[in-house]
């Protein structure tokens, strides 16, 4: 309204002014700055040619001024619009980029999810192959947070029925092992420590499974024990294989023992015959003293007491031999290695003396006892001694079997058996411990193999070295049992 009054005041034709200003505005808006200026100039020229006389010089100048101001205004508007467009374009570009990034991220996440699914599948496969189930449970309330499929399979639960409660899980553990299992877990909770426990499951239907479980404690930021993460492995097959292996080893050891004894039969026959021969003679002598016209009871008594001594020795030899043939499960008992050495020496000493082999014993008096199977250790000693004796069969010069026992470092007992025989086969120092390696015409090649496996089963070591100046040494170490170390 104000602008109309202004135009009327300057005697300008209002319709033209409105038209001209609109035209300028439209030209500026759609054509840009330069066409806008042209439109302004054109409007001024038209106004000048059409209404030059109808207005005063002042109003004409004002009129032009209005056009110019309007043009300037429109230029400003145009510039602002340009800036706005640029910023909108920029914003749009930003948005597009953000959108692209988002798309990329979504694709990435999809890939990661796929990867995760795949790795979960691999993990499940690995769990199935290794019979290992994983689990997580909370210390408070013993609630389960995670149980893997393999865990369900091992424990014989149906995943569709949901996670079984603590009590239900406990019921699956073999009654004889429940206390052991609970003790291990209680201790781990009290000490915030790792735990591992071997126990059996007794599933409905009577199936027994052997399990090996490892648990790891997880604390929150304040050091409070919140849960345990771990795995349970079904080791039933391994246990059965181990049992079968142990049985096979025991059988093999016994066969080897019998073979070793077979090699010693001649010696043993002599060992038994000797006291029996003496007993027969002594008994006859006794009868002679009694059968006299005046029986000499004192002499008869002496002869009779010699019979007792003879028979006792024959019985001792037989007892020792019988022990070596005995079939039995490995025992864990306290064993004095010096005693084992002496026992086996008693069985071979006759053989050695006939082969003119001297025996040198250096047994430590304060030798601690070890824990092991007496008969098996006898067998090892016997094997090593018979080997030493055989090695000296064709040797000229000194024939000496030396047996040395001592308390070694690291809580161990060490026994060394040295001979002056042919020595170890060059470059085959360790091959002699391989199965079926033998240098004897009738050897089984199992003696040293079995000896080493027996010693290793006792937690010890058996190895060979050269003896100086000739022959071989066999060394064995056995750990002293924990509570007799000091």
């Amino acid at each position: 309204m104000g602008l109309a009054h202004l135009f009327l005041y300057f005697h300008l034709p209002q319709p033209f002014a409105a038209f001209a200003l609109s035209a300028i505005a439209i030209t500026f808006w759609y054509g840009g700055t330069k066409p806008g200026i042209v439109a302004t100039v054109l409007a001024s020229i038209i106004r000048y040619t059409q209404w030059a006389e109808a207005s005063s010089a002042v109003s004409r100048a004002l009129y032009d001024l209005v056009f110019v101001i309007f043009a300037l205004l429109m230029m400003g508007v145009n510039r602002a619009r340009g800036e706005l467009e640029v910023s909108v374009a920029q914003r749009t570009a930003d948005l597009t980029r953000a959108n692209e990034e988002l798309n990329l991220e979504i694709a990435e996440r999809k890939r990661a999810e796929e990867k995760l699914r795949q790795s979960e599948a691999y993990l499940a496969e690995a769990q199935r192959l290794t019979h290992t189930g994983s689990w997580v449970w909370e210390v408070d309330g013993r609630d389960v947070l995670h149980l893997s499929d393999e865990w369900y399979r091992i424990y014989g639960f149906d995943p569709a029925e949901g996670m079984p409660a603590w009590e239900k899980r406990l019921q699956r553990i073999h009654p004889d092992d429940q206390a052991k299992w609970q003790t291990a877990i209680e201790r781990a909770i009290n000490e915030h420590s790792e735990y591992e426990v071997e126990f059996r499951l007794l599933l409905p239907g009577g199936v027994v499974r052997h399990l090996y479980t490892v648990g790891h404690p997880v604390e929150d930021g304040s050091g409070k024990l919140v849960r345990f993460v771990g795995s349970s492995t079904d080791v039933t097959e391994r246990k059965q294989a181990e049992e079968a292996l142990r049985q096979a080893q025991a059988d093999l050891a016994r066969i080897s023992r019998v073979t070793t004894m077979g090699e010693l039969t001649a010696s043993l026959a002599h060992e038994v015959n000797q006291p029996i021969g003496a007993a027969v003679t002594d008994a006859n002598t006794c009868l002679r003293w009694l059968n006299r016209e005046h029986p000499d009871l004192e002499e008869a008594r002496q002869a009779a007491s010699r019979v007792v001594k003879d028979a006792t020795r024959a019985a001792e030899v037989i007892n020792r031999t019988r022990l070596l043939f005995k079939k039995g499960t490995p025992q864990s008992e306290l064993v004095d290695m010096n005693e084992v050495v002496r026992e086996m020496l008693a069985l071979t000493v006759g053989d050695m003396s006939r082969r003119s082999i001297a025996v040198r014993l250096e047994l430590a008096e304060d030798l601690p006892q070890i824990t092991g199977d007496h008969v098996q250790l006898q067998q090892v000693l016997m094997n090593l001694m018979v080997n030493g004796i055989d090695a000296m069969k064709d040797s000229d010069g000194t024939r000496e079997l030396a047996i040395h026992s001592q308390r070694a470092d690291d809580h161990q007992v060490k026994v060394t058996i040295s001979d002056t025989g042919m020595g170890l086969p060059p470059r085959h120092e360790d091959k002699i411990f391989h199965a079926f390696f033998t240098t004897k015409p009738n050897g089984t090649g199992m003696g040293l193999r079995i000896s080493r496996s027996i010693i290793e089963a006792h937690g010890g070591r058996l190895w060979a070295s050269d003896n100086s100046p000739r022959g071989a040494c066999f060394h064995l170490t056995l750990p002293i049992r924990a509570d007799s170390r000091e």
Binding site: A266, A269, H270, N273, Q274, P275, I276, G277, A278, A279, V280, T281, D282, N284, T285, R288, W289, E299, Q302, A303, R306, K309, D310, R313, M352, S353, R354, S356, I357, A358
Partner: protein
């Protein structure tokens, strides 16, 4: 004089203590003087081989064996009637011993009558 000085001694050479004791006891019961040695070397060292009328020896012994002892005595022109006693005698060993002049070859456990017969025969020869 010289023959009277020669005591008719029976020597026992055996590395087994029980066997030595048994043989000594048996000879004592029949009233024969006997001396026991734990090895052939001990017997040779004792110098009693020249006064020994009968030798009872084990074949297998540490050091010098019974057969080696017999050969050694033969080579020293000191042949003594010898009775061998062994825990496990084989035919070959027996032949070897008898060819070298052994009077008897007994396997443990042996018949004491046969042993004593042989000892007496050796002492009377």
């Amino acid at each position: 004089m010289a023959t009277e000085a020669k005591i008719k001694l029976v020597a026992i050479v055996d590395d087994d203590e029980l066997m030595r004791g048994a043989l000594q006891g048996l000879l004592k019961a029949v009233g024969l003087p006997a001396q026991a040695f734990a090895s052939a070397e001990d017997f040779l060292k004792s110098g009693l081989q020249h006064k020994t009328a009968c030798l009872i020896a084990d074949i297998r012994m540490p050091g010098m064996s019974g057969l080696e002892l017999q050969a050694k005595l033969n080579s020293e022109r000191c042949s003594i009637p010898t009775i061998f006693i062994t825990a496990h005698g084989d035919a070959k060993m027996r032949m070897q011993a008898l060819r070298a002049g052994a009077t008897e070859f007994l396997t443990k456990p042996f018949d004491d009558e046969i042993l004593l017969e042989n000892v007496r025969a050796a002492l009377e020869s």
